[in-house]
């Protein structure tokens, strides 16, 4: 899990687990990503374990970014993440 500032955007790299067991811990990093009030790219190439709580976490990130008039996109999601997003009608969160 890391935060980087690239091309004026915050690249927020998520760990392998984004699920009910990890979202509480991840909230701190979400705050750190959003507090910069820049567009956020949520880098998900490492994510292997993803569930409904993880999905909600991403949705919340997008919502909070929108409240700050900032963009929020999911980048490089694995097949499980893509499946989950499609199942819930959220494919358009996948950005680059």
């Amino acid at each position: 899990m890391s935060l980087e500032l690239t091309d004026g955007r915050v690249v927020w790299t998520l760990p392998s687990e984004v699920n009910i067991y990890s979202v509480a811990e991840l909230k701190t990093s979400m705050n750190a990503a959003l507090v910069q009030k820049r567009d956020v790219v949520c880098q998900m190439k490492q994510v292997e374990d993803f569930d409904g709580a993880g999905l909600q976490f991403l949705m919340a990130g997008r919502e909070f970014a929108a409240q700050q008039n900032c963009g929020f996109a999911v980048s490089k999601p694995g097949p499980d993440v893509v499946d989950a997003l499609q199942a819930m009608g959220l494919s358009n969160m996948i950005g680059e």
Binding site: I20, G52, M59, R62, Q86, A87, M88, S91
Partner: protein, 586 residues
């Protein structure tokens, strides 16, 4: 919630449901084709499929889907349940058990299992007919709903339009859903297996601010339009596990006319509707046969219209839920151990009170002792389970073996409500299985021999349990040929177990069959006759502090009588011999 614990609970429930399914199938085969049994089989398949879906056990979901579809047809009256179908469903139940083991990583899938699955699916497809061809339903090795297409994939066949042909489903998951170990994603995925999802949209409700956001609370609300051979009840049934924890609205609609909901306030209101264009596409323009549809097509049987047909059964299930509480065996053992310590501590208090000769103290400790004993007895009762469930499994064993051996055998069970310690029940199953197989294979004669002996062609195997003198007695009795003492003696001499001139009572001769390596079977079969069983049976019984005895009469039959202690948990004391008299050591 610990996933391992949840999986263990799932497995327990699935095994129980498979046992129920088997019992119901056997009762139907036995001529009791009641609606309750048919509903029980459907419910077992439906629940196993639903629970498996929540854990992502896709192979279980995919296979059970076909069983569920067939049973749905049966209970709707569109298909008649036949003997062949019962046999097939029994094998399907076995295969579901294997798939659960496979999904939990306990056993690998070999060629045999793969072939078996192909044969079973073909059998199910034959009964299901064209409308439920396996090609239209999820394959065992493919994710049923979470596949590459997902629910938002274009519908393979567009709805016909005109009258209401689908349902608009809106579900607002309660905040405590995650805390209960449930996942909204799994419910939506499962729902997608019931039909064709035309569009789906999700948002978060009452999310609040970043500071107040609790990631472990659920804020998800999902709306979708689904069509297929499903009704409102089957959609509602998909959410039955969280019916108290969600706000569910189901409205009939015309799928082709529905669009992304404008009424839903959302930060994602500008999000394009998923697959709306596909839903509006005329049927002729839809691909005729998608290579691997990720969700069952409209042709695939919708699952679980559980409410109307099952309302009675559902009420029973609910009342059963209220009646029983599932408790981990470890917790119960811990309670029993603590009570054991309490008994000892109570006894020490009584001794001290006696030594102090305080009347008040002695009365108080006496009252405490009475209560402690009552608690002890009540706690021990918690461990007691009926032996009926163990006996019931032999219905299947007898059915299969009698078919294999070409014998007609009537299994008679009595005393199924007799209770004994859970640990004993678990350990007695294997020895009993061996005894039953021995009776079937060697005890009960072939049809021809029974006719020659003037017996009914239908052999009788009895399983009987009862309490006697603080012990539980389990009898396995058959009306077969009985033990041939001369043959046993000759075999024992041949094996060097006794000398040729040994003088033995009939009972001692009978007991020789418990010697290691002893077998009087003329032919070794794959069932028994290898002489590696009865000694192990006796060892197992003795390890439970029980005894086993035989009562056999040549030409009449054999009764094997197992005598076991009621409980293994707390022993008041040991009766030992000292000199000429018995002494009791607490």
């Amino acid at each position: 919630m610990n996933l391992d614990a949840a999986l263990a609970a799932f497995e327990d429930e699935a095994r129980e449901l498979l046992t129920d399914m088997e019992s119901s199938l056997l009762s139907i085969e036995g001529g009791q084709a009641e609606a309750g049994a048919i509903n029980a089989i459907f419910r077992a398949a439906h629940t196993i499929k639903g629970s498996s879906g929540m854990f992502g056990l896709d192979s279980v979901v995919a296979f059970t889907h076909h069983v569920e579809s067939l049973m749905d047809d049966v209970r709707n009256g569109t298909t008649q349940l036949t003997t062949e179908m019962v046999s097939l469903l029994l094998k399907c139940g076995d295969h579901i058990g294997f798939l659960i083991n496979e999904a939990l990583g306990r056993v690998p899938r070999g060629e045999t299992e793969a072939q078996r699955e192909t044969v079973l699916l073909a059998g199910l497809a034959a009964f299901l007919g064209d409308a439920h061809a396996p090609a239209d339903a999820p394959h065992a090795n493919e994710a049923p709903a979470a596949g590459s297409g997902g629910p938002s994939q274009p519908a393979p066949t567009a709805p016909s339009g005109g009258d209401n042909d689908g349902f608009h489903v809106r579900v607002h998951f309660g905040t405590g859903v995650f805390g209960e170990g449930m996942d909204p994603l799994s419910f939506i995925r499962y729902l997608a297996t019931l039909g064709t999802v035309h569009w789906v949209h999700s948002d978060l409700v009452e999310l609040g601010t970043m500071e107040t956001f609790d990631p472990e609370a659920c804020y998800i609300r999902t709306e979708l339009v689904i069509s297929g051979k499903l009704d409102e009840d089957s959609i509602r049934a998909a959410f039955e596990f969280i019916e108290d924890q969600c706000d569910l609205t189901i409205t009939p609609c015309v799928c082709a006319l529905t669009t992304e909901p404008g009424s839903v306030p959302s930060a994602t209101a500008t999000e394009p509707a998923q697959a709306v264009t596909a839903a509006a596409t005329p049927a002729a323009a839809a691909p005729p046969k998608p290579a691997a549809p990720a969700v069952p097509t409209a042709g695939a049987k919708a699952a679980a219209p559980a409410v109307p047909a099952d309302s009675g059964a559902k009420a029973d299930a609910k009342s059963a839920d209220n009646k029983f509480l599932r408790v981990e065996a470890d917790k119960l053992d811990q309670l029993i151990n603590l009570i054991g310590e309490l008994v000892i501590a109570g006894a020490s208090s009584t001794l001290i009170a006696n030594s102090l000769r305080s009347q008040e103290m002695m009365e108080a400790t006496s009252n405490v002792s009475t209560l402690v004993e009552a608690i002890r007895d009540t706690a021990l009762n918690l461990r007691m389970v009926q032996i009926g469930a163990t006996f019931s499994r032999f219905q299947r064993v007898v059915r299969d073996l009698s078919q294999e051996l070409g014998k007609e055998i009537d299994l008679q069970i009595s005393g199924a409500d007799t209770e004994l310690d859970k640990s004993v029940v678990e350990k007695i199953a294997d020895p009993l299985t061996h005894l039953v197989r021995n009776s079937l294979d060697h005890g009960i004669e072939s049809r021809e021999r029974r006719i020659e002996a003037g017996k009914s062609v239908v052999g009788i195997l009895q399983l009987h349990a009862y309490h006697e003198s603080g012990s539980i007695v389990i009898e396995v009795a058959d009306d077969g040929g009985g033990l041939n003492l001369d043959k046993i003696k000759a075999k024992a001499i041949e094996r060097g177990l006794i000398t040729p001139n040994a003088s033995l009572t009939p009972r001692e001769i009978q007991n020789l069959i418990f010697e290691p390596g002893f077998s009087t079977a003329d032919a070794v079969t794959n069932l028994s006759g290898r002489g590696v069983g009865m000694d192990v049976v006796r060892q197992n019984i003795q390890s439970l502090r029980g005894t086993i005895e035989l009562d056999s009469e040549l030409g009449v039959g054999t009764i094997t009588r197992i005598r076991l202690p009621l409980t293994l948990a707390i022993i008041d004391g040991f009766l030992v011999g000292v000199g000429d008299g018995p002494t009791w050591c607490p």
